[in-house]
């Protein structure tokens, strides 16, 4: 029962999902709307599970005084700060929409935003160091790749067109043709992989997502 019920649900919902895509009738739309709404509600509800897991994991760390448990305290501090300010809502309390220019917005704009932007900007540094370390013409193929990469990088810089109008054109050509040909080849493989994987799940052949070898 524990295995058969999920497999039956996967079989029914899998075929339903496929067939509804080919049935344009209103009945099909109503069914699809109900399913998607149900899934959206489920996704919203399980957010609480995530919250519980997060707080529980950090609480265990603090209780056991694991390495770096001080950071776990910060998780609780951050969580309760936001919660309190969100509920207080500048005196309007939580049943009204969040007031503009309130503390929540302040924390969002001046703490959360810079932290996020910092994380993303680290990418530029990491790309540079990874490219320097690994982009070496160790073979003929790697050499071709290197030349293509340099041409694309240079071609997308606005100044390249001033030096020679061919640079941006070459960059665009490389992106639209050789790059696209490879991408399509990978795409076909992925698409077939998705179909095959979906069928394996729908027919209950692939069960490892339920644990064990299935």
């Amino acid at each position: 029962m524990k295995k058969n019920l999920p497999l039956t649900i996967a079989f029914i919902m899998g075929w339903l999902g496929i067939l509804l895509d080919y049935i344009p009738h209103k009945v099909s739309e109503v069914l699809m709307t109900s399913i998607t709404k149900g899934l959206m509600v489920t996704i919203a509800i399980v957010a609480f599970l995530g919250l519980y897991s997060l707080l529980n994991m950090h609480w265990i760390k603090i209780k056991r005084k694991n390495a770096g448990w001080g950071y776990s305290l910060l998780v609780f501090a951050g969580f309760f700060f936001m919660l309190i300010f969100g509920l207080y809502n500048q005196g309007d309390l939580f049943w009204k929409a969040q007031v503009e220019q309130g503390m929540v917005e302040w924390i969002y704009t001046y703490i959360f935003t810079p932290c996020q932007e910092t994380m993303f900007s680290i990418l530029a540094f990491f790309i540079a160091s990874a490219a320097y370390r690994t982009f070496r013409a160790k073979s003929m193929e790697a050499g071709i790749l290197l030349v293509a990469a340099v041409l694309v990088m240079f071609g997308v810089v606005p100044i390249s067109g001033k030096i020679w109008s061919g640079f941006p054109e070459i960059a665009q050509w490389l992106l639209e043709y050789p790059n696209m040909a490879v991408k399509r080849a990978i795409f076909f493989g992925i698409a077939l992989g998705v179909v095959s994987m979906s069928l394996r799940i729908i027919f209950g052949i692939e069960r490892s997502y339920m644990g064990g070898e299935g």
């Binding site: 739309e29 959206m40 996020q116 932007e117 160091s129 982009f135 340099v150």
Partner: protein
């Protein structure tokens, strides 16, 4: 010595990248910017729908958050400027919860600049969970998916949205996307089923991901990264942060090219050195 250069400390590369971004902000110089065909298509489409008697409506889905703000916000502002300049009405929404305040601020700023009225010329519907499922849902039942806007007003009573029953009632849909719950989901869950004009605004690194959708016609236009935003600013003749941002980006690219070439020179010199050593 060569060996040292070959295994250069990554922090030295970081320092160079930092300077290549910082200095062009301090030293100003102009760069020639020309719009490519994918950016031009988006521009032309907005021009086209502005010719409609009703003024036309576009749906902008802000599917990003602050992390990619530097790259996507200039494009969002440029497109909104263009739409408002041409009296095209704009509906905003988000598939990323952390992007709600940011998206709302952008829409409010631009509406204020062009004297547009909330509910009549623009509306912001906020965030709902589900991403692809939400897209599928709103395509079939717009009012059901978003019963109210962020002000709590019912969207079947807001002048701009009261007549929008399905996605087909919108003239142009675009996703400003930085990852999951963005362009790809729009195409898979909504555009391919309902067949409407759809465009994307994305980070530069993910732009090549969407080229096949452009060629298949599932995607109508693409504004890729800061470069795309700068091109859009050039088209609407309103220089902004994207054109400013192209300077550091261009210099950083050149520094990166320099490091790759330099790394390869070191590699070959080192290889020659090793071969000589082996022979000796």
């Amino acid at each position: 010595m060569i060996q040292k250069l070959f295994n250069i400390d990554r922090r030295i590369i970081f320092a160079f990248i930092f300077l290549s971004v910082l200095l062009p902000f301090l030293v100003k110089f102009d760069l020639p910017i020309e719009a490519d065909k994918n950016v031009r298509t988006v521009y032309n489409k907005i021009e086209e729908i502005s010719q409609k008697a009703s003024g036309g409506i576009i749906l902008m889905s802000f599917d990003y958050d602050n992390s990619t703000k530097a790259e996507l916000e200039p494009a969002a502002r440029a497109i909104l400027s263009h739409a408002f300049m041409k009296n095209v009405k704009v509906i905003g929404m988000s598939n990323w919860p952390n992007g709600v305040t940011m998206a709302k601020t952008i829409m409010e700023d631009m509406a204020k600049e062009y004297g547009k009225q909330n509910g009549v010329d623009w509306a912001y519907l906020g965030y709902k969970s589900g991403a692809g499922l939400l897209m599928l849902n709103l395509s079939m039942d717009f009012h059901g998916a978003f019963p109210t806007d962020t002000r709590g007003e019912k969207i079947d009573q807001i002048p701009l949205t009261k007549n929008i029953r399905t996605i087909k009632d919108i003239d142009y849909v675009m996703s400003l996307s930085a990852g999951s719950g963005g362009i790809e989901e729009w195409i898979i869950y909504s555009q391919s089923k309902y067949n409407y004009a759809f465009a994307g605004v994305c980070t530069a690194v993910s732009a090549p991901d969407y080229f096949p959708f452009l060629q298949s016609g599932q995607m109508h236009g693409l504004v890729g990264g800061l470069a795309g935003a700068a091109q859009y600013e050039t088209l609407i003749n309103k220089p902004g942060t994207a054109i400013d941002g192209m300077r550091p980006q261009s210099v950083a690219h050149l520094v990166l090219i320099f490091f790759i070439i330099f790394g390869n020179i070191c590699y070959f010199v080192n290889k020659k050195f090793d071969m000589k050593k082996e022979r000796a």
